[in-house]
Amino acid sequence: MAKDFEVQVLEDVTVRFAGDSGDGMQLTGSQFSNTAALFGNDLSTLPDYPAEIRAPAGTLYGVSGFQLHFSSLEVSTPGDSPDVLIAMNPAALKVNLKDLKPGATIIINENAFDAKNLKLAHYDSNPLENESLAGFNVILVPLSRQTAASLEGLKLSVKDVERTKNFFALGIMYWLFDRPLEPTLKWLDGKFKKKPTYLEANKKALTAGYYYGENTEIFTTRYQVKPARLEKGTYRSISGNEAIALGFVTASVKAGIPLYLGSYPITPATEILQELANFKNFGVKTFQAEDEIAGVASAIGASFAGNLALTTTSGPGLALKSEAIGLAVMTELPLVIVDVQRGGPSTGLPTKTEQSDLLQAMYGRNGESPVPILAASTPSDCFDMAFEACRIAVKYMTPVFLLSEGYLANGSEPWKIPDVDSIAEIPVHYWKNTETYQTYARDENLARPWAIPGTPGLEHRIGGLEKAHIYGTVSYVPENHEFMVRMRDAKVKKIQDEIPDLIVMGDEDADLLIAGWGGTYGSVTEAVVNLRKKGYKVAQIHFKYINPFPKNTKAILNKYKQILVPERNLGQLSKLLKAEFLVEVIEFNKIQGSPFKSSEIENKIISLFGGKNVN
């Protein structure tokens, strides 16, 4: 007989699933996300794995987390601090407690709080038995025991039973947020087609968890988060790395030339290589090279031979590629270089996110070696910017940087699937005319002709030595060198003529302008939206094109009394803005391997208004 409970309608909830690497938190989290998405919420997710592959069970550094922010309104970040935490063991509780909202709900697997696990989590006394959780809405569930009970009679090893408890927990969450079980049940059918016992076990656990919520007294409230008003269309959830891979395949189809990726695995960029390796029926060639240098070098070769050439990496790999990128600059070959940034310097924090390769991309080559730089702002924006990078590369015959970062790469959000036909073609014309051909003649975009090996009558030689204007032969002539150095620079600047102007969001007539770039988009936007609701006057611009800057940058920067530049580095965009526009900026830097919380930005802005911190 179902008990009665209060139903609360919420606009916006952030939950975090946390447990051992082995507890399947990533999977549980994505199931919940899927269901929320299908239900029509807007959402954003942020996985957070340990650097270790399978850290020993119960250890603090072995804790794996998955955070999900879902809402009936527009969502632009994975959420600052969770309203609900699912803690599968003491370590998970210890690691995540500090991040929670005051008064947050914590669902705890009490069976995991034995001496051994408490010790592994460096708890000298059991937090469930002292005051340390005061102020939170703690819900103790004998998860392990209940799961076991629900699986009575199935032929399962103890280990397998333990393995199933995440679905019991998921069941509880579905009840708590009034969600249907069907999507997950359906997914289980597919997943365990060949393993009926597991299928039954997981289904049983899920359902049992749901009814545990329904029937026990421990839950007195239940929450509802209504669907968001999203633009009409077909959606899927997409991560930044998936989006980049799709953007590239799309560019290849729209350009009508084969895609070639020369890459070497590195966290957090590896998935792009892995994704593209699946697209063989699109003629996509993925070459896992012996190192980063071979990866980019082979891509330069493929570009010379007429393919749409890419290389993907993270900061340390980019450092290794820098000499070869200079060759692409000198030979003016199209090439897209993706840097999925991570914590540096050196090996740094390989699994954490950061924005600190901007200046490396801008200047990390010998000589005057200009390369356009684009930066993606959200997981789904990665699709657009990957496509855009390819378009610019072939139009201007130049290498192009696309900067992403770990948090965009692994985070996901709903993506409105575009109509293929509505995506513009990328015009590519290999040069054919033998009469008019000159290797370094230039078109209206200052691009040289792309004459590919195999074309009769256009045999020519290129290379890394300075080139004679028009002819492209080796030239040591001093004036030619200066001319070409300035020409390469002018070609990159010329892109300014066609890239979109910056759009001022928020209060155009504010005194304060927030200027973000790349991955700070979500947090800054959320902060600005919130503050404007609170009556603060704030303007916002966001840079997705950094080299060259959009045409109207100077005009906008000069319009505002104060310019705040939040970056997850020591002020790299600030340096570029100051050097190019001689404007004062207020730097707001965070270098902690994680995205900004929108509240951090809000507080900074409020302080600029002379006010005190909110919450």
């Binding site: 063989k280 070098a297 010379f304 290379g463």
Partner: protein, 344 residues
């Protein structure tokens, strides 16, 4: 219309492969001969000129592409094998050739070289081995003999040299040969053999740098001593050499022994018969090893030629397979793979 289209119908000559650039190697440099032989054999290959691509790194030898009237790419130091791999994978119809110095290919470029061999990418790699860094004006290289005095080793180098042939065979090259700048006929023959091979073909060419390492191969190239210091490998033929073919190599178990054919103790029938096609690489290593042995001749010719699927071949085969399997890629479908939902 393009002069070239005309040319295609007439047989090409070596001149067709020469550019109008004047060649800037030092007078007397061995590179001239290598260029001449390549230009001589190129028309014989029945490959249209526009399908040749010459890739090089940096070094005197790496100027090579500028002098070949084909597509060419003078890249950066050591990276030619990697860039050539990209060219071949982008367009497998091309005939891809790498020109590299001993520093370029074996010092900074060593890793790309062994990995290209391992993958058996269908390309030809010509090593200009002058046992010195020429372009930087005379430092020892990974093939310089130990003890060599150079600008960077004023008291003698303490590095042991690589045997390039060893590296090629060990890493999986499917065609491995050696020749000399001073033996045009033999060099042409090796080029033709390499060109005919499907897979990674490696030719080590002993090349004289008359400025910084003059005479490095003198004993192997001058009329007087040549015959006694060089054994020419020919498939199915015994390892015989010497002014009047009076010396040979026989195998004592796994160990090669030089024998005198004049004493009557051994005859040609006792000699080691060369087998280019032996799957077992042991033989090639023993041959390469001669250089480490006292009083052994230096082998030139084809050490080894085996058939293995090529990386480029397998890559395109896989693309076709998967396309057959999944059908030609369809963006709309791809976008919709996985969970999707409608918002009305």
């Amino acid at each position: 219309m393009s002069t070239n289209n005309v040319m295609e119908n007439v047989k090409l000559t070596s001149k067709d492969f020469a550019t109008n650039q004047d060649v800037r190697w030092c007078p007397g440099c061995g590179d001239y001969s290598i260029l001449a032989q390549v230009q001589r054999v190129s028309p014989e290959l029945g490959i249209p000129k526009e399908k040749f691509v010459w890739i090089s790194g940096i070094g005197c030898s790496s100027r090579f592409p500028y002098y070949m009237n084909t597509y060419g790419f003078h890249t950066i130091h050591g990276r030619a094998p990697a860039i050539a791999t990209g060219v071949k994978l982008a367009n497998p119809d091309l005939s891809v050739w790498v020109a590299a110095g001993d520093g370029d290919l074996l010092s900074i470029g060593g890793n790309h070289f062994i990995h290209a061999c391992r993958r058996n990418v269908d390309m030809k790699v010509i090593l200009f081995n002058n046992r010195i860094y020429g372009l930087t004006k005379g430092q020892y290289s990974p093939t310089s003999e130990k003890g060599k005095k150079t600008k960077s080793s004023p008291y003698g180098s303490i590095d042991f040299p690589f045997l390039p042939v060893n590296m090629a065979v060990a890493s999986g090259a499917t065609f491995v040969a050696r020749s000399m700048d001073r033996d045009p006929k033999h060099l042409q023959a090796m080029m033709l053999r390499a060109a005919a091979h499907h897979g990674l073909a490696f030719i080590e060419v002993y090349q004289n740098c008359n400025i910084f390492n003059d005479g490095a191969y003198e004993p192997l190239t001058n009329k007087e001593s040549k015959a006694d210091n060089v054994v020419v490998l020919e498939h199915g033929k015994p390892l015989i050499y010497g002014k009047n073919n009076d010396k040979g190599i026989r195998m004592d178990g796994m160990n090669p022994v030089v024998v005198d054919l004049t004493t009557g103790e051994y005859s040609v029938n006792d000699l080691w018969i060369h087998d280019e096609f032996d799957a077992n690489p042991g033989r090639s290593f023993v041959l390469a090893h001669f250089s480490d042995l006292k009083d052994f001749p230096t082998p030139v010719g084809v050490f080894r030629q085996i058939q293995k699927s090529t990386y480029d071949g397998d890559l395109f085969a896989q693309l076709d397979e998967v396309t057959k399997l999944k059908g030609k890629g369809d963006l709309a479908k791809l976008f919709r793979s996985g969970n999707t939902w409608e918002v009305a």
